[in-house]
């Protein structure tokens, strides 16, 4: 099975929640294992979180402004994720 495509094995990700979303989710982050049949993308992560219901469903509902980074770089829902990646989920930035 060592030659199997990534999408057929579980993907372990480090999730980071920031600012308002950290407070809404009640945690600064967690380890998430994407199942082999989840999309190995940021969108797949969002779908897995949204499926939990509660604050997750509210904050990640379609149309809500949510931003992402993978390994500290700006990412979008179609950005691919790999085993070991750090995926950050946060509101639009308001610095400066």
């Amino acid at each position: 099975m060592t030659n199997a495509p990534a999408s057929l094995v579980a993907t372990t990700l480090r999730l980071v929640y920031l600012a308002r979303l950290r407070e809404a989710f009640g945690t600064a982050g967690e380890t998430l294992v994407l199942a082999a049949d989840d999309s190995p993308t940021v969108g797949g992560v969002v779908a897995a979180l949204h499926a939990r219901g509660g604050a997750w469903a509210v904050e990640l509902a379609p149309g809500r402004a949510v931003r992402f980074a993978v390994n500290h770089r700006v990412a979008h829902r179609d950005t691919a994720v790999q085993d070991g990646d750090e995926v950050a989920v946060f509101p639009p930035v308001t610095g400066g």
């Binding site: 920031l18 980074a69 509101p91 930035v93 308001t94 610095g95 400066g96």
Partner: protein, 148 residues
Amino acid sequence: MSVRVQTADFDVAREIAALRAGDTGVGAVATFIGTVRDMNDSARIDGMTLEHYPGMTEAALAEIVAEARARFDIRDALVIHRVGVLAPGDQIVLVAVTSAHRGMAFEACRYVMDLLKTRAPFWKKERTPSGERWVEARESDEKAAQRW
């Protein structure tokens, strides 16, 4: 080029002197300082807390400055952004750009601020008489960044 995230305040005169040090080809220095206002969206602001995403912040700021250097004929640039607890009147951010002539310094300084506002992972939480609230992103900031 230098990018710093810090809780401490900064002295703009000292920072400009360090940025210019030894470069007598500099004829123009454009700077921008963002400060904490005492009012926002009709509410009194007693202060704010700035949160950021360590690691990504420095990378995002460095990338913005590198883009400004590639795009404008400038000599050097500096960004300092504070995090933590701030009071009205406190300095939040400093962008300083040196160049031979003023046009490029002004343009690059504004470019860095516009991109910082939409791409650097900072979040402001305001303290008001009725409690704390996260600052909402402004549509006008998105438009300012898209202008470039």
